[in-house]
């Protein structure tokens, strides 16, 4: 057997078939200079070998190749250099696909640039493992595939099928990837994978890419056909509905697929490369990559946070069987804990268990026995006694300090030695709750987001009395239930609730100023917000808003604005939100209809002057109201780590992901300009816009958050 190796790969030729095994340092194969030069070197060496019939491309690591080296992408903000980098990748894939038969044996995930490498092979076989994902997630990071993905995939599976993957940044498990045509075959294990790949090489000695074959016909609608035209038009509408124009990557991906489909394959790569270079060097994509990839990954890995391997939690109790409590019981049981779900009412428990059953039914990958076993781990009870020996208790009872104090005093004596008491309060200061605890060092805030089964974030709040070991154990629990943690200091509303409140209250304020909720919500989406403020307000209920405003006033002494008065009046007028069928919007059987036509009646005498109602002005106010609040959270020492300010805002409350987060927004705007804008708004609309001390000082010193 003849062999070769370099920094990126090793090659073994056996019976005329060269197996190229990507084996980069660090446990992952990433598309970067090392990989490209390694592949070029390997192919050069192969060219000099006699009797090579074909190539199998695979990986020594768990994954095949997880995409471009994003550090390399961030390290390069020059479009001309970015074009060179894509040209190097395109040269390699082109060389692969125009040479001897080559099969990608995808032993693990093949994503982004990794999957594009596989698209440059004549055939793709994937190891059928649930750990593996295949697809093109670039659009979710503000860029597009830059290694031929927008051109090869449509030519392989058709325009519509390719758009489904590219525009939605899909990552598919192997069986779905096979169904969608992203891979040609599946293999049950590694040996079978390599055997199938070698067999394909043997059976297809003259393999060529379809697009390099004479008489090639596009699968599905041919470019420039009326069908394709309709498809692109419909896709434009689909993209815009999702992005409201705030996320150019999806728009660019769509036009690049269309533009590329109109030209011959080889030249289409130039169209893709130019668009990729522009996006990848744009401040927006770079901020998105930094937050959505690097900061998110760092948060998931709990970098810089105290660590214990085993928190010693066996039995977890959840107090309160509402939707949140039931959800917490479910995700805890799913993570393997024995769970007690406690409520004072059996009806509430029944509803909670029904919710859990509904969630269980969605776990399609589990068989009936596994589901039954999972359910059996959850014990509903109304008895305090059921909590005996609990290692971690999470209270999710009504947001009332006195009630929570009573619960803490009642429950603590039942718990195991060294148990952690966590409150799922969304706003009340942990230190204030901990006054009722006999063990404030083991008292912590675990603020979950609803619906907890879906929302990825966990905001962990430590008070001055919480010890590091309790934090470390809570973080271990966070790992077990697979949430992304941010860790913040104590203070009313902590981080996310403060910012979220500022957002929806500003939405209400804009309505008080005479703007239509429909326009306000659209302006928020155009600014990049995931959901409009009034739509959310209706969902969390205006009643809750009134309650929270009263609490906030108590703790933070926030001056009341007409928007707050509007919300109170709406509650009084029985416009309490979506669940009540009436809020800022009318609802018919749970579906949002138009804005409430009675708004003028309740806002008429609020004495608010008319304000700029352009989409830009409304969007800026909604963003800056939040950024101003983030600044105050910085001043108040709530935020321990800038990374968490970004991750928390985007994953907790849907802050505009296109900005990379509120601090990235500040950087992109430039702190001096941000401070100036906040002062303008402060002068026009009130002190809630006043720029935080932190912003002002950083602006004066010419500092930035992330460079």
């Amino acid at each position: 057997m003849t062999t070769y190796d370099n920094d990126a790969l090793r090659i073994a030729i056996d019976d005329g078939i060269a197996v190229i095994t990507l084996a980069m340092d660090g446990g992952f194969n990433k598309v970067n200079r090392v990989l490209l030069e390694g592949l070029a070197g390997g192919l050069d060496w192969l060219d000099a070998q006699e009797g090579v019939r074909g190539i199998v491309l695979t990986s020594a690591h768990r994954d095949f190749c997880v995409g471009a080296d994003l550090e390399m992408v961030l390290g390069n903000d020059d479009p001309a250099l970015m074009l060179e980098a894509t040209a190097a990748l395109n040269a390699i894939t082109r060389r692969l696909e125009t040479g001897k038969p080559v099969v990608a044996a995808l032993n693990g995930s093949a994503l982004g640039g990794g999957y594009e490498l596989a698209l440059g092979c004549h055939h793709r076989i994937a190891l059928d493992t649930p750990k593996s994902q295949i697809g093109l997630p670039e659009v979710s990071l503000g860029v597009i595939p830059g290694g031929g993905g927008t051109q090869r995939l449509p030519r392989l599976v058709g325009i519509q099928a390719a758009l489904d993957v590219i525009l939605q940044a899909k990552m598919l498990r192997p069986p779905k990837a096979k169904q969608a045509g992203l891979v040609d075959a599946l293999a049950p294990d590694r040996d079978a994978l390599l055997a199938a790949a070698k067999a394909w090489v043997t059976e297809n000695p003259k393999a060529k890419q379809p697009w390099d074959t004479k008489g090639y016909r596009w699968p599905g609608a041919r470019p420039a056909s009326p069908d394709a035209r309709n498809m692109f038009l419909a896709a434009s509408a689909m993209v815009y509905k999702k992005t409201a124009g705030a996320f150019p990557a999806a728009e660019v991906a769509l036009s690049v697929v269309q533009e590329g489909s109109a030209v011959i394959f080889e030249r289409s790569l130039e169209i893709e490369a130019r668009a990729f270079a522009k996006l990848a060097t744009s401040p927006q994509a770079r901020a998105m990559i930094r937050t959505l990839f690097f900061h998110k990954t760092a948060a998931d890995k709990q970098k810089g946070l105290p660590h214990v391997e085993d928190p010693g939690f066996r039995k977890v109790a959840v107090l309160g069987a509402g939707m949140m409590g039931a959800g917490l019981a479910f995700v805890s049981a799913k993570a393997g804990y024995d769970v007690v779900l406690k409520d004072i009412s059996t009806e509430a428990l029944d509803r909670g268990m029904a919710h859990i059953d509904a969630e269980l039914a969605r776990l399609k990958h589990l068989d009936a026995d596994a589901r039954a076993a999972l359910r059996a781990r959850i014990t509903p009870t109304v008895e305090l006694e059921g909590l005996r020996g609990t290692d971690l208790v999470i209270e999710a009872v009504f947001e009332d300090l006195a009630l929570k104090h009573r619960v803490i005093r009642e429950v603590e004596p039942m718990l195991a030695e060294n148990a952690v008491f966590a409150s799922n309060t969304s706003a009340l200061p942990i230190a204030d709750l901990a006054t009722a605890s006999a063990h404030p060092d083991r008292f912590i805030g675990l603020h979950f987001f609803s619906p907890v089964e879906k929302m990825p974030l966990l905001e962990i709040i430590t008070s001055a009395g919480t010890d590091d070991h309790t934090l470390a154990r809570s973080l271990a629990y966070c790992r077990a239930i697979k949430k992304t943690p941010i860790v913040v200091n104590d203070g009313y509303g902590f981080y996310t609730t403060r910012v979220f409140s500022a957002y929806i209250l500003e939405g209400a304020q804009l309505v008080a100023e005479g703007h239509d909720p429909v326009l306000v919500d659209w302006a928020a989406r155009v600014a990049g917000m995931v959901v409009g403020p009034l739509q959310v307000f209706d969902e969390v209920t205006l009643t809750l808003g009134v309650h929270a405003m009263a609490e906030a006033e108590k703790y933070l002494g926030v001056a009341s604005i007409p928007g707050a008065e509007l919300v109170k009046r709406m509650v009084a007028a029985d416009r309490k939100g979506k669940a009540h069928g009436a809020g800022f919007y009318d609802y018919a059987s749970g579906r949002r209809k138009g804005s409430w036509d009675g708004l003028d009646g309740v806002r008429a005498d609020l004495g608010v002057a008319a304000t700029d109602g352009s989409v830009e002005a409304l969007g800026e106010r909604l963003i800056l109201a939040q950024v101003a609040e983030v600044g105050r959270a910085l001043d108040a020492g709530i935020i321990r780590n800038w990374r968490d300010a970004e991750v928390g805002a985007i994953f907790g409350i849907g802050f505009a992901p296109n900005t990379g987060g509120p601090l990235s927004y500040a950087d992109q705007r430039g702190l001096p300009e941000l401070v100036a804008a906040l002062r303008r708004l402060e002068a026009a609309h009130g002190e809630r816009y006043a720029p935080a001390r932190t912003f002002v000082e950083m602006a004066e010193k010419g500092e930035t958050f992330f460079g």
Partner: protein, 400 residues
């Protein structure tokens, strides 16, 4: 009232093949890039523009659906500028200018941007079909491919293969000298990608290395059509005595297939002043003529005569000429008929060297002659093109 030219720009011309530099650029982007250039060079408030008139021959696919309007929308803020796309075959670009000039001179419009666009790599010639080669039209009107018309003129005039090849070599050499001398720098706006990086900065088609020997080796392009397919016979309905056509034209002495666009800013004097612009030339006269469609390509002769007569001028009153080199024989025949001094014609090379982006060429030639009048400090220029269907077009400008 008179119409004045205030600015003129064009793209470099790219080879009109899938390997050409501009193949990956959509024609709307070629045109929009120029409209942006016109705006930026003149600090033009584009809301002051009354219309964008664009010549484009093959108006299907990328060039369908009124490309003029959508290029204006894409290039310029605001939505206030209409657009019209017109087709007078190879005269379309000059027709657009003349059309704009007519509207301005009449006082109906004050300010119009006129030009042309053609991406022949993306929208092949003839992709728009048409009645032109229907048998019914053949019986009623008569119609042959242009190359056969060109070879027919050479046959009737007794122009030899060597003469057309020498003309072609001359075009290449003049083009090379002009490029070397940077004579087009002022008017050529590089085609750039979305990053602002250049896709093409100078004309891609010229072959300065061309030799007479090399040209002599090329096979006549229309020999097969004319002789083997028998199309030469079709000319006999009009030219009964021609029983054999001498096929002299080939890829090296005919205009090249290329991609490109051009645009000119045309306004009346008062509007120009209001916009803070200085006029470069006045459009003195325009002419359209038509004759029988089989000979097809002799229109420049009649159009030139008509434009001169309208202006009260003679051939000697014109300092520089551009007669489109659709085929070498076209300007050769035209010079003979009118007695034009070859030293004044296509002095910086023509479509044989640079290529002929159908709908854009007329506007490009006007731009070229204006630049050269200024460079040489001369006054009057005439541009003329042969046009499909037997038409001819000419425009006379004079510097102001």
């Amino acid at each position: 009232m008179s119409a004045y030219i205030f600015d003129a720009v064009r793209t470099p011309r790219g080879r009109g093949k899938t390997s050409g530099a501009l193949y990956t650029t959509r024609p709307i982007d070629l045109l929009a890039g120029l409209l942006e250039g016109i705006r930026d060079r003149n600090e033009l408030d584009t809301n002051e523009v009354d219309d964008v008139v664009v010549g484009c021959v093959t108006q299907v696919g990328d060039q369908g659906a009124c490309i003029a309007r959508f290029a204006a929308l894409q290039a310029w803020e605001g939505n206030s500028v209409p657009g019209v796309t017109l087709n007078r075959f190879c005269a379309s670009g000059l027709e657009a200018v003349n059309h704009a000039a007519a509207m301005v001179a009449s006082g109906l419009h004050d300010c119009v941007v006129a030009g042309g666009v053609e991406s022949m790599s993306r929208v092949p010639m003839g992709a728009d079909g048409g009645a032109i080669f229907d048998p019914a039209v053949q019986w009623k009107v008569g119609s042959v491919p242009q190359g056969i018309s060109a070879d027919l003129i050479a046959t009737l005039d007794g122009i030899t293969r060597d003469e057309v090849d020498r003309f072609a070599l001359d075009s290449q050499q003049k083009a090379a000298a002009a490029m070397e001398d940077g004579r087009f720098v002022r008017s050529i706006l590089a085609v750039r990608d979305e990053n602002g990086l250049p896709i093409l900065e100078v004309d891609e088609f010229p072959r300065p290395e061309t030799t007479l020997d090399g040209l002599a080796k090329l096979g006549a392009s229309f020999e097969a059509f004319g002789v083997q397919f028998g199309l030469d016979t079709l000319v006999r309905r009009r030219y009964p005595s021609v029983d054999r056509i001498t096929h002299v034209h080939h890829a090296g002495n005919s205009s090249g297939i290329v991609d490109g666009a051009a645009a000119l800013l045309i306004a009346n004097e008062a509007k120009g002043r209001a916009l803070g612009l200085t006029p470069r030339a006045r459009i003195r006269s325009v002419a359209l003529t038509a004759e029988e469609p089989i000979i097809m390509l002799t229109g420049p002769v009649t159009a030139t005569k008509k434009a001169l007569a309208k202006a009260g001028m003679t051939v000697d009153d014109i300092d520089l000429f551009e007669c489109n080199e659709a085929f070498a024989v076209v300007p050769m025949h035209w010079m003979r008929e009118l007695g034009v001094d070859p030293a004044k014609v296509n002095v910086n090379g023509g479509s044989i060297a640079f290529g002929h982006p159908l709908g854009a060429t007329g506007a490009m030639l006007l731009n070229t002659v204006l630049d050269e009048l200024e460079r040489r400090d001369l006054n009057t220029g005439l541009v003329t093109l042969c046009v499909g269907g037997g038409m001819g077009i000419a425009t006379i400008i004079e510097r102001v």
